[in-house]
């Protein structure tokens, strides 16, 4: 069947979709928020574990959540899971070492 001259469709010209490789293409500062949050989360976890700052552990947990919310589908899930595990372990270890509550600033 002849295609009408007004029909712009060309089935023979189909080109399949190629996902953009994140390593070759430059990443803008907006798109790199999950990476920043990942690093921040790890930093806070280390501070929470080594310096026994409980609020750091909670901040690490929040940073992991933010990183998860902004993650791309193509990103490695292992990294985000390990970030969560690290922040949860920081919280647990802080309270095992010292079960007393954080002194509230309003007290």
């Amino acid at each position: 069947m002849m295609q009408s001259s007004n029909d712009p469709r060309r089935p023979a010209k189909i080109v399949r979709y190629k996902p953009i490789d994140p390593q070759t293409s430059p990443v803008s500062s907006e798109d790199s928020l999950p990476e920043y949050m990942n690093v921040l989360g790890m930093l806070f976890s280390m501070c929470g574990l080594m310096m026994r700052l409980k609020w750091c552990s909670f901040a690490a947990l929040l940073a992991s959540c933010i990183s998860f919310a902004n993650t791309r589908v193509t990103d490695d899930t292992k990294q985000i899971v390990s970030s969560f595990m690290l922040s949860i372990s920081a919280v647990v270890m802080s309270y095992l070492q010292n079960p007393s509550p954080i002194v509230p600033p309003w007290s």
Binding site: I14, R16, S29, L62, A69, N70, T71, V73, P99
Partner: protein, 462 residues
């Protein structure tokens, strides 16, 4: 940049609190010792009062024993020595009893106090206020994530459903995921706020990538950032044209802020496009800006149909960018291209997605405008003067690029020559056969002579 500042800010807070924490810990350590000391004294105080009744009892028993012994003594035959011994015992015992009584008196005076021991988790939930606040914040964030993600997903799918029929009229393939054998109607999820539609199989273009960039509703930080710098949901149609499909046209038009940002970011616009003023004569809305390389393209592109759509759908149109020299985003400061960048012919249409009752009609009209401009540019050819002007500009850009990189290329060439000479000399030294060595030395001398001799161009007479 903003996230980097945020990172540095958090680092500063952590360092500050670490320094405070050290002093606090020292106090704590001392406090522990003090508490421990108090504990010891208090425990001793606690222990002693507890023990006093115990001490009393044996004493009472002792008294009882003594009473009995006293009673017994007169009954038994008294011995002088036994009397003295008993008296001595009585004296010793009396002194002990007196001491005990004094101790009892001193002990009784001090009041009982509880040792400061941290109570168990389960019995003391009310003091974990900060922890409760932190967990509540995380809970709220999680709830917001699910609600925002759902909202974005429904927005994206609704837009796709509204536009898929029109796209199917233009393309043989709509919604390709790049993997499945029979692709059709797939909306690719990039992030929870970014969705892609790939369309292909049309005359004049290799494909069109429609990207839905939605507000980050799933992220509280993103939502708060949007309150300060409001952005609407947008859809960006990136059309990849076939080679030589359009003439030398570089043109950008749209919202003033978006145009300014595009001119700053993209190399082709920064290099070729010139800002055009007095847009009222073209009938453009006041909120629009326009940059174009060649002036005649403006009146060619802005015909009555286009102007009518621009005026009617002003708030929906963010940016229209047409270029035959697209080579991506401008490089960061300090970076330079090592070779002339590859260019491609592209068209970008950025539209705002605003939820309204007539959004179906709006979407249709905007896509109509998109393909109308596409077909118009495919047919449009510059005048001879315009073409010459455009070619001259492109040539001057290429020449300036070569000039800038000339020194770099010269240095690279020089380094390569030196490397080759070094290798030759090394081979000469390593050569064991004297015949070969002599031959290589001769070749080396000839080369040096040729290099030293003045270079003369040979002219051929025809």
């Amino acid at each position: 940049m903003k996230v980097e500042w945020l990172l540095w800010f958090f680092l500063l807070i952590v360092c500050f609190s670490w320094v405070n924490g050290l002093e606090f810990e020292e106090d704590n350590e001392f406090a522990e010792f003090e508490v421990a000391d108090e504990k010891k004294t208090e425990t001793t105080e606690e222990v002693v009062p507890d023990e006093t009744p115990k001490v009393k009892v044996p004493e009472e028993e002792a008294f009882a024993e003594f009473e009995t012994t006293e009673k017994k003594v007169p009954e038994e035959a008294k011995d002088d020595f036994s009397d003295i011994a008993e008296e001595e015992e009585y004296d010793a015992f009396d002194s002990k009893v007196e001491e005990g009584a004094e101790e009892k008196k001193t002990l009784e005076i001090k009041p009982l106090t509880f040792a400061d021991i941290p109570t168990h988790f389960r019995s003391n939930w009310s003091s974990y206020q900060v922890e409760a606040v932190a967990l509540f914040i995380i809970f709220l964030y999680t709830v917001n994530y699910f609600i925002g993600k759902q909202r974005n997903q429904s927005l994206a799918y609704r837009w796709f459903d509204d536009n898929i029929e029109f796209l199917r009229d233009q393309f043989a393939l709509v919604g390709d995921d790049g993997i499945s054998e029979n692709p059709d109607g797939t909306l690719i999820k990039e992030t929870d706020s970014s969705y892609l539609v790939w369309c292909s199989g049309r005359v004049g273009i290799s494909g069109m990538l429609s990207q839905m960039k939605l507000v980050k509703r799933q992220d509280v930080i993103g939502t708060v950032y949007n309150w300060f710098r409001p952005k609407t949901d947008r859809v960006i149609h990136k059309i990849d044209l076939d080679k030589n499909e359009i003439d030398s046209v570089i043109f950008v038009m749209g919202n003033k802020k978006s145009v300014a940002k595009a001119v700053k970011d993209y190399t082709d616009l920064a290099t070729y496009a010139i800002e055009r003023k007095g847009l009222e004569r073209f009938g453009l809305p006041a909120s629009f800006a326009l940059h174009a390389e060649i002036a005649e393209t403006i009146s060619a592109i802005l015909d009555p149909f286009v102007v009518q759509h621009l005026q009617k759908y002003e708030k929906y149109i963010d940016l229209i960018h047409i270029t035959d020299q697209f080579c991506g985003v401008k490089l960061q400061e300090g970076e330079t291209y090592t070779r002339l960048p590859d260019t491609s012919e592209n068209m970008f249409f950025t539209f705002n997605v605003i939820d309204s009752p007539d959004s179906l009609e709006v979407n249709r009209a905007l896509l109509n405008l998109t393909f109308y401009l596409l077909e118009k540019l495919r047919r449009y050819r510059l005048s001879r003067e315009g073409k010459v002007k455009a070619e001259k500009k492109r040539q001057s850009f290429a020449d300036s690029f070569l000039k800038v990189t000339h020194q770099q290329r010269q240095e690279a060439m020089q380094a390569r020559r030196e490397e080759q000479a070094r290798e030759r000399k090394q081979r000469l030294i390593e050569e064991e056969d004297p015949e070969k060595q002599r031959r290589l030395q001769k070749l080396e001398d000839k080369r040096e002579q040729r290099a030293k001799a003045p270079k003369m161009k040979q002219l051929r007479l025809k």
